[in-house]
Amino acid sequence: MSSKQPESLSSRLAFTIAASSLLIIIAASFVLYRISFEEQVRQTESTLDQLVNTVRTASAIAAYVGDTELAKEVVDGLTSNDIVDGALLITSQKVLYSAGDAAEGGFSRRFNLISPFDESEKVGELVISPNRELIKQSAAASARRLVFTMIIYTLIILGILVSLVNWQFTRPIKKLANQLHRVLPGSDDRLACPDMHRDNEIGRLVTDTNQLLESVQHTLAQERNLRQVVDQLQKKFRLIFESASSGIALIDYEGRVQVCNASFAKLFGSRYLGNGDNTEPLSLAYSFRDVDHFHDIMMQVKADSLPVEADLEVNAEQGQATKWFHCLISKVANEEIGSFLELVVYDVSERANRERQIQKAAEHDPLTQLYNRRAGEQFMQDALDAAGQNRSQCALMMIDLDRFKPINDLHGHDAGDMVLIEVAQRLINCVRGEDLVIRWGGDEFVVFLKSEKGVINSVPVAEKILRHITQPIIIDDDTEVTIGASIGIALYPQHSDQLVYLIELADDNMYQIKKDGRNDFRIAS
C-alpha cells in the first residue's frame, strides 16, 4: 500500500462506474438479444400466418385432390419468401411436395388443411420452417443497435457523472486532504472550508477536523508542559543521586553493581563497577574484609525484606589506614526492573577508627599494649565459657618478675618501663596468637593458654617463658639488666572451673615459688 501511488478518487470512481456499466451492458445485451429474438420469432410467425392465409385455399385444394403440381406451386411460392427456410405439403397419406429445409423441428409451424367441400374433414398439413438464421441475424442486429445506444448513453452519463463528482466532491476533498497533509500536529493551522460545501457533509468534516486539530494542539501543549515538569523533576532527582555525599547503588543478589553514583564509585573504586570493559563486575562482597558476613546480610535482606544497617570493615590497600563503611542495605522490587538491593554507603572510617582507639585504650595497658586486667578478666571468662562448651582445657599462668624493683630504683622509671615493654614483647613471642597475654598490674603478668581440643601442655610454655625472660635486656649502650620470673600455674578444669579460684590458685603457687627461691614455675596440685 505505501509503495503504491496514491489513488485518485475520481479515476477510481470512473473506473468503478465504467466497470459496473460494462457488466450491466453485457448482461443487458444477453437479455436484449433474447427479447429481440423472441420478438423476431413472433413477428415471423405472424408473417407466416398471413403468408399461409394467402395460399390456404390452394394448398387445401392441392391436398384434397392430391395434386403434386398445385402443391409444388404453393410450396415454391412460399419458399420464395426469405423468411421461409422450407415448406412441406402433406396429405393424410403422403408427402405431396417439399422444398428447402422443412425439418419438422421445434421451429417449424404446422397448418391444418381443411377440405374445401367439407369443413369437418382434415385433408392434410402445410409445414413451414421459418428462416432461423434470418431471425437470428435480425434479432442480433436489433440487439446490437440497442446495446450500441446503451453504450453511448452510458458513456455520456459516465462523463457527466465523473466531471460532476470531480468538480463537486473530489476536488474539494483533494484540496482538503492536501491542506490536512501540510498541517503540523500541535500548530494552530486549520482547514479552510470551500464556500459551496459550508452546509453539507464536507463542511461538517472540515468543522470536525478543525475541532480535532484544536484538541490535538491543546493535548500536545499540555503534554509538553507536563514533560517539562517531569524533566525538571528528573534533573533534580539526578542531582540528588549524583551529588549525594553518600554512595548510592543498586546491586543484584550476586553483589554486582547495576548502577551507582559518583560517591559510590569513589568509595569502592572501578574494580567493582565493571564499567569500561565487558567483564562482569566483581561481587561487592569481596571489597569487605568479612566476605561471608556481607553475603549473609544480602541473603537476610532478600529473605526478610527488612533493611539492615551495619558498619563493615573494608579491605584496605597496602599501607593505608583501615576503612569502615556504614552500609544501609534494603530491598527494592519493582515490576519493571525486577528485584534488587539498594545500598547506601558512607565512609565512617574516622569515627570507627576513633571508637576502636577508645575501645583499645579501654582494653589495653597503654605502656605494654597488652590487655589490661579488667579486659583480660573478661576475655579469660569468655575463653572459659567457650572451653566449657568445647570440653577443652585452659591454663592460667600468673607471672611475677624477679629482681624488677631494683631496676626501677637503680636506673629510673624509664628503664623500668623499657623492661616491662620488652617483657611484654617476649611473652607474646612465647605463645600462639589466640592465647592471651595480660598485664595484671605492676610487674605481674597473666598468660592464658587456650586449646581447641585435647589436653594442654603448659610445662614447655612455662620453660620457654623462663628461658626468654632471663635473657639480658639492653637498656642503653652501657646498661644491661637481667631479670627472672616466678610462675604459678592453674589448669582448667582440673583445678577449678571458676576463674576466681584459678587466679587464686595460680597466685598461691606463684608466691610459693617466690618463697622457694624464685625463677621457676609451679603447677597447682
Binding site: 385444394i61 384434397y64 385432390v65 392430391g66 395434386d67 403440381e69 398445385l70 374445401p116 367441400f117 367439407d118
Partner: protein, 140 residues
C-alpha cells in the same frame, strides 16, 4: 328395392314441380354400384378420386354450365356457386392431376351415356329418372 325406387320415383313425379331442389345421382342399371354417400359423390365430382369405392373406374358427367340442375347439384353437394366451382377447376386446370367432369348439355344424351357406360355417373332431377338408370344417392 325396385318397388321402393318406383314409389320414390312416383313421389318425385308428383312433387317434381314444387320440389325441384332434389337431385338424384344415377348410374347405369348394370353398374355394381348400388349406394354412394354424399362424400363419395363429392370426391368423385371434385376430382379427388377417379374410382368408385369398390375400385372400379368412375366417370362423372356434368350438366350444362348454366343449367338449373347443375347449380342445384353443386349448391346442395358442396355449397358452392357455379362460379366457385369454375374457379376451383381453373386452379387445377394446368396441373394435369385432375380434370373437371365431362359436360353433356343435352339431358337425353346424358341419359344414354349413363345407359351405355357402366362407369359413368351423373346427377339428374327427378323428371329425368327412368328404368334405365339406377339411383345410388340423392342429395337435397
Amino acid at each position: 328395392m325396385r318397388i321402393s325406387h318406383l314409389l320414390i320415383g312416383l313421389l318425385i313425379l308428383v312433387m317434381s314441380s314444387s320440389v325441384w331442389s332434389e337431385v338424384f345421382i344415377v348410374v347405369s342399371k348394370d353398374s355394381d354400384i348400388s349406394n354412394l354417400s354424399q362424400k363419395e359423390v363429392t370426391d368423385i365430382y371434385m376430382g379427388r378420386t377417379q374410382s368408385f369405392p369398390n375400385g372400379s373406374l368412375a366417370f362423372p358427367l356434368d350438366q350444362a354450365a348454366q343449367s338449373r340442375v347443375r347449380e342445384n347439384f353443386y349448391k346442395i353437394l358442396v355449397n358452392k356457386t357455379p362460379a366457385q366451382i369454375n374457379a376451383y377447376w381453373s386452379r387445377l386446370l394446368f396441373t394435369g392431376r385432375a380434370s373437371p367432369p365431362r359436360v353433356i348439355s343435352d339431358p337425353a344424351l346424358l341419359l344414354s351415356a349413363i345407359e351405355q357406360n357402366r362407369s359413368a355417373i351423373a346427377y339428374v332431377d327427378g323428371s329425368m329418372l327412368s328404368n334405365s338408370v339406377k339411383v345410388v344417392a340423392h342429395v337435397k
